[in-house]
Symmetry: C2
Subunit: 641 residues, 2 copies
């Protein structure tokens, strides 16, 4: 560990640095590292179930529960500790996330006092293993259309849980196949023949002996691409009866006469409020994806730093892989993006902590912004994980294909992150929709021309969502040299202006385009569908800007000059490689000239070469316990040359 990487670590560990340090020492590899030998699926599941109970004894889970529910109310600490599990075994991460985060989160956030008292202690201790039964075979992303029903029976004052069609079978449910005893089942709530939309009901699925409850048919999803330690299964309900009070009734209740009531009148708003309370799941997935990606980069860059191949022309020692430009190009921009996303994640977790500490008093706008931010970061961080871990595997050649070197499991385990907890394509559309709502709130009454006259600066001020660094970024932009002046590529203000300009333009043109859907005779679906790639581009541009600003704030806050200077170069690489990746857009929209575009590519190459000597420091700064990295990639054969 160099001083530099220690200083870097302080800068990137964020507000819950002490939790990261605690995890580094407490999450002992002996107990929590990935299995060192191959396990059968049953052995792996049993191991992870044991580890879950072990984790319960560490006290970590209580951090995620508010104090009035018997927890510690340290939400940021909880999500940070969860993220650190992403360096260990991802099956355990997902198992813990399902049990405490999703299942426990549903009981805590959708239930009320009696549910809290009855269940939370045994959920915290993992004595009552749970499932989060939302997704069905026929409906994943479109939760509002779930087919499972929960029908109130006036004769017995019970809810009858039923799977009316094969498509309504609960599917891919973590914990269902082996361990789960109680499931938080999302179903259409029906009273007196009337549907009140999707609500959540607690349904016992196994008895104490582990046998399925009457009327519950349990299937096993069997082998998956990865996450072999998670027992995903299928649940089918045949008129399963539970007490009415098993309805998690914070946002919708039925009284003993079958009368439905809710504090939120609008059913759509009610539905999204309920889902919104579960935002921590997406934030946690983004965090876990980030940790897994950093593990992969640490392995691949360490290997690239000692592995040699091919002597240079004219002879001499064989060249170290990382000295090749093509190899730098494969790994270093991805490393820079991982830094950027880590700062963005820290900011997101911090914001979540503050919003959720406010409880019911939280500003609805803050809550909405948090949800959009979580959706966007989750989509971008998990896509980055998939692409980067793939690149790391390939950068290690045959060695990267061996299970013993962990890259295969990192890839396979995280692969589903792009489509679970919200499919990324759907999430990015959600982000854009949120931005357009802001847009409409501000400019709804203005016609197109009026909007254009209103001026770009003000538009940006209103639509461009606030980030922690906003004031700083605005000062940087104001001080930036003109668009095409020479030598400005490394000017942070110029970089920020370019990101912001792209987002604003994509959003403004999208708003105009979608306005057509409101015209009489418009085929609204066609208008939206034709704009779908535009929608996704706008959302991505937005997330890129948010991520860059988090990085800018992080560099600004770093108090060690050497670390700050290095972080600045990493930030340059993130900014310029992101611009380069979308240079087609910037050129099409004449935001950069062809000459400028070529300079961007040259600058990315130069930055890669400049950062290459610091690559090991930059991955060491992630602080991944060496026991979790104990592979042949990191500890090669003595004289492998």
């Amino acid at each position: 560990m160099s001083t530099l990487s220690t200083d870097l670590r302080r800068a990137i560990d964020g507000r819950w640095a002490h939790i990261r340090e605690e995890a580094r020492s407490e999450l002992e590899p002996a107990r929590f590292a990935p299995p060192s030998r191959e396990l059968t699926r049953e052995e792996y599941r049993a191991r992870v179930a044991d580890q879950l109970r072990e984790l319960a004894t560490t006290g970590h889970p209580a951090r995620g529960l508010s104090k009035d529910m018997g927890g510690q109310g340290d939400f940021g600490a909880s999500v940070t500790a969860f993220e650190m599990l992403g360096h260990a075994d991802l099956s355990l991460l997902v198992k813990a996330g399902v049990h405490w985060g999703l299942f426990g989160g549903a009981v805590a956030n959708l239930g009320t006092q009696p549910h809290h008292t009855a269940y939370l202690p045994r959920i915290l201790s993992a004595e009552l293993p749970g499932c989060f039964a939302m997704t069905e075979t026929g409906h994943g992303s479109d939760v509002q259309s779930l087919g499972t029903t929960a029908t109130w029976d006036p004769d017995t004052d019970e809810l009858v849980i039923h799977t009316p069609t094969p498509a309504a079978r609960k599917d891919y449910i973590g914990g269902a196949a082996r361990d789960g005893r109680l499931a938080a089942v999302f179903a259409q709530l029906v009273t007196g023949g009337e549907s009140h939309g999707v609500h959540c009901v607690l349904v016992p699925i196994r008895d104490e002996a582990g046998e399925p409850m009457p009327g519950v048919t349990i299937g096993d999803c069997g082998a998956k691409a990865g996450l072999a330690g998670v027992d995903n299964g299928r649940l089918t309900f045949d008129h399963v009866r539970v007490p009415r009070t098993n309805l998690l009734n914070r946002y919708g209740d039925i009284d003993e006469h079958g009368v439905y009531s809710s504090p939120i009148e609008n059913p759509t708003r009610r539905f999204f409020t309920m889902l919104g309370t579960l935002v921590r799941g997406r934030i946690s997935v983004a965090g876990g994806a980030g940790a897994a990606t950093r593990t992969a980069l640490t392995l691949a860059l360490t290997y690239a730093g000692h592995r040699r191949q091919f002597a240079p022309p004219g002879g001499g020692d064989e060249v170290v892989l990382l000295d090749y430009r093509a190899h730098q190009r494969k790994l270093l921009p991805a490393l820079a993006t991982s830094y950027a996303l880590l700062f963005a994640q820290n900011e997101l977790v911090s914001r979540m902590h503050d919003v959720q500490l406010s409880g019911d008093a939280a500003d609805p706008h803050d809550q909405r912004e948090l949800e959009a931010r979580a959706a966007g970061i989750k989509a971008v961080a998990t896509a980055h994980a998939t692409a980067t871990i793939q690149a790391c595997r390939e950068a290690c050649g045959g060695a990267g294909y061996l299970a013993v070197n962990r890259l295969p499991s990192l890839k396979a385990d995280t692969d589903v992150f792009t489509t679970f907890e919200g499919d990324n394509t759907v999430l990015l559309q959600l982000v854009a929709k949120g931005l357009l709502t802001d847009y409409r709130d501000t400019f709804g009454d203005m016609d197109t021309l009026g909007m254009v006259r209103f001026g770009a600066r003000q538009v940006a001020g209103a639509v461009i969502e606030r980030t922690a660094a906003r004031g700083l970024v605005e000062r940087l932009i104001a001080a930036a040299p003109g668009r095409d002046s020479d030598g400005a590529l490394l000017d942070r203000g110029w970089q920020c202006a370019l990101f912001e300009d792209r987002e604003r333009h994509l959003l403004e043109t999208l708003a105009m385009r979608l306005r057509k859907a409101a015209a009489p005779d418009a085929d609204a679906f066609s208008v939206f569908n034709d704009a779908q790639d535009h929608v996704i581009a706008a959302a991505r541009a937005h997330v890129d800007r948010v991520v860059l600003e988090a990085f800018v704030a992080g560099v600004d806050a770093c108090d060690d000059p050497a670390a700050q200077a290095l972080l600045g170069r990493v930030c340059d690489l993130y900014a310029l490689s992101t611009i380069e990746a979308d240079k087609g857009w910037f050129l099409e929209h004449t935001r950069i000239t062809p000459a400028r575009s070529k300079q961007v590519t040259a600058a990315v190459n130069t930055l890669c070469a400049q950062l290459r000597p610091h690559a090991q420091d930059l991955v060491d700064a992630f602080g991944i316990p060496v026991e979790w990295l104990g592979t042949e990639l990191v500890e090669p054969l003595a004289d492998v040359g």
Copy 2:
């Protein structure tokens, strides 16, 4: 099966269509399809070893051997049959490729009559399972630097095979861990203290009872990301003695006095000639990657054609996934590229067949061109496989993550294709180097200005490597409208001109840039290394052009008007989505205007919408036996909606 897909199939099945048909009916799923239940690694290896012997009885393997060696000399048929295995179990494909292709190929191509007589019959029948022991832990891509030695001992007239360092251990060797009995070992050949470079020696590694031979230490690579049915292992030799005549001596021999001789004087040329005889391996990998990708696309597009999610605004039936533009964008350009690569593969196999039928009489230029083409297509086809199968997995959400739906194994099994049989990054550099050699041969004596004056057309004529469609393409280009005239996006000549122009420009500027390495005091490594991304871009542009021209020829040759018209649209989508993917380059080099660039994107969207109704026909045309696709994605629950 529609008539249209039957007509399409005739167009894409190529010169060895009868072999494809034979494989469709003969490679019975009951014997060769992927395992329907989970197997332990040992069970899987045993199954694949059995299947290999089954395959031997079909007579397929004899096609790949020339008639004078007891085969049928139908090389194209052999590679085509191998490609069809890519629809079945990829472990079997790789196992067969290692045994007959690599190991058998080494004996056939590097050995002489005595080796052929002694071994080929038992190799054909799979009675003598073999290994191809080239890669070492320390050296993969850089075969010339292998560490294993084969030293002639004058006292016994034997060769002593030895692993001098841990890094020289043979690694990732298919067949080594369980089944292999004889290994084709690549080693530095040493006589009288002098090294003659890398040669291949046959070394028994197991006795009849399956026990390691004295001095041979065998390790197991254990679990891998995929290909669980292939027993990859490690070989370490401790002064293992074999008769001198075990040297495969076609290109280099030692007589009984230890005197080395070779028909090829230049050691580098000798080395590359030896490697060049093994070109069929890369062609086969490209073929297998193509087949696996088509399987994945068939699964994902079939699913996308019936899976529904979200009702449109205003209500009505939920929308079929493939009606969403974002979903079309994920899958249809990839489908078009798969068509393009299939035509290119057919052309490559045909060329290989003709060159290899000529045997020693083959034109060295043709052989060199074949090797470059094989390297380029292998790199592009396997990268396409990795990206496309990933996209297919994601397009199927949770269902795509279940092993039962095959996408996980397609992804994991093909993942190593990008780095074995030549790492893609290394291969693309090889392609560029080959093109530059042509370049130098033609223009070596001309200075830069002279070269420019020589005129672009002639430069292209000389450097742009010939393809089957060259005459046709030149006529199309000559008839193409000007660069920026409206409505020309779908003009095939305009598309071809753009591809060709990009390749020529990248190559010309690369040649000028690399010339600096020849200057006195030049740091040749730095010059090459700084240009590495340029080198790779030039190679990719070259392969893209070759692939497009193969597609153009394929469309031209299609004799059914409806199928031809549809193929034409698919070709448009391939051409325009390829241009779109690299629009940054075309804009930077002012090959297209910003307005034109936006039109390209719009045209890609339009083409996706136009092809969407034909998506099922287009995948049905691949003719993958339905038993090999028997997953929940293709045969969904009756009423999953």
